[in-house]
């Protein structure tokens, strides 16, 4: 049984879609120069989804914007905010109805890709997102 120490303060993202844990770290800007403890567990057995990834990041509180982005690549992931060794706040991220200031339109001919300072905007349609500007529809994870 794989065992990873608890963290005193930081963020645990659980129930990440298997294989996407490394991407969660990347999205949070956690790289090789991050000076605190980080754990990435991949393909961990899960009752709900057969397998999942988990990340634990010491001394780093996830922002709302980061949580919204994680929702795009892994809806259903659980965010745990840890303080003094205890879960202070816990919530599940899901695909938001609207995305404003988050995500990047993958259409290279979209005006948002060439014009500076344009806030990205998407509206959810079923489980996809339509760009407010170019009107094209993309899978949620394509926006990351």
């Amino acid at each position: 049984m794989l065992k990873v120490d608890v963290i005193e303060k930081g963020t645990v993202v659980d129930h990440i879609k298997a294989g996407k844990g490394a991407k969660v770290l990347k999205l949070m800007g956690i790289g090789e120069d991050y000076p605190y403890r980080v754990a990435l567990m991949m393909h961990v057995p899960s009752k709900k989804t057969k397998e999942k990834d988990i990340v634990k990041i010491a001394e780093r509180m996830i922002t709302e914007k980061e949580a919204n982005i994680i929702a795009l690549i892994s809806p259903g992931a659980t965010i745990n905010i840890i303080e003094e060794g205890k879960v202070k706040k816990k919530y599940t991220v899901d695909l938001p109805e609207k995305l404003e200031g988050n995500g990047i339109c993958p259409n290279p001919n979209c005006i948002t890709r060439s014009e500076k300072d344009v806030e990205q905007r998407f509206a959810k349609e079923d489980s996809n997102y339509r760009c407010h500007y170019c009107e094209r529809v993309f899978k949620a994870e394509e926006l990351v």
Partner: protein
């Protein structure tokens, strides 16, 4: 109001614009917009859209600010957004054409003045769609229940996607004919079918005997990797006089223009050829659009 995408319009609004265009075309209404200024901001080339907007503006008494991209501060590196924010202070309505998709929406979001999309890359060209609907309704008396065939490169032509949307809004029976590999995105067809509860037929062969309206668009040779295939496909889909044998007597043929060689010149003289009349309807339709968006 802004006019950016056919997706923003409902059947009632489209109907009001078409009714107004009809009255303008018949000389029953003549909007008086003297004292108003239109800015035609075309960041890429255009013949019909730009000239018909300018003609429409002149016929209502408006003045036109003609933006020439090559002679503007774009050459000094000014952004699209800054250009829009500047020009909105000089005019009452802005018509924008730009190669980037979503450019007109961005202009509308930034401008207090009404913005009309004159074509944004491969995305939308709503006034062309309105001209197409207007032409069909004026020539055939209705849109709903007509058999309308759209033929050509349906994958890349922006006008065809918007037109399918507009035709389906009015309940036309649409058939899409395109060479293999140049079919319209099936996801888009599905979206239209679900939204308007219609069934869209698709084919890869140029067969349109049951059509009331045949709408042709270009197939560009550069879309094919193999020049021989390009040549044979373009020949197969080139509309010849002989292709009209056995078609409905009252068939009308439309085309957004410019046409290059997808319709044989002999057809231009036939009564079915309505594409120049369709292009001329750009003026009354755009008079209606300018008047409508300035009032709403």
């Amino acid at each position: 109001m802004d006019l950016i995408s056919i997706r923003d319009l409902n059947k009632e609004t489209v109907g009001e614009i078409l009714d107004l265009a009809n009255d303008v075309a018949d000389g029953k209404k003549k909007p008086d917009l003297k004292g108003k200024i239109i800015a035609t901001l075309f960041f890429e080339p255009s013949t019909r859209t730009k000239l018909s907007f300018q003609s429409a503006a002149m016929r209502t008494g408006m003045s036109d600010l003609d933006f020439l991209a090559d002679l503007s501060s774009l050459k000094k590196g000014e952004s699209f957004a800054d250009t829009i924010k500047t020009v909105e202070g000089y005019a009452d309505i802005l018509v924008v054409r730009h190669k980037k998709e979503g450019s007109a929406r961005l202009a509308a979001d930034m401008s207090e003045k009404p913005v009309v999309n004159g074509g944004d890359g491969g995305n939308q060209h709503p006034t062309q769609t309105l001209i197409d609907l207007f032409s069909i309704r004026r020539m055939k008396g209705k849109i709903g229940e007509l058999n309308v065939t759209l033929m050509g490169d349906l994958k890349h032509a922006r006008t065809m996607r918007s037109l399918l949307y507009g035709l389906s809004m009015f309940g036309a029976n649409v058939t899409l004919i395109s060479p293999k590999g140049l079919e319209m995105d099936p996801e888009y067809i599905k979206e239209v079918e679900e939204k308007f509860k219609v069934k869209v037929k698709t084919k890869n062969e140029p067969e349109f005997r049951d059509a009331d309206v045949l709408y042709v668009c270009r197939i560009q040779a550069e879309r094919f990797a193999d020049p021989y295939e390009a040549q044979s496909v373009m020949k197969k889909f080139r509309l010849m006089k002989s292709d009209l044998e056995g078609t409905k007597k009252e068939l009308i043929i439309l085309h957004p223009l410019p046409k290059i060689n997808e319709i044989d010149a002999e057809i231009d003289k036939m009564p079915q050829a309505k594409y120049f009349e369709q292009a001329h309807y750009g003026v009354p339709l755009r008079i209606a659009v300018i008047d409508y968006v300035l009032r709403k």
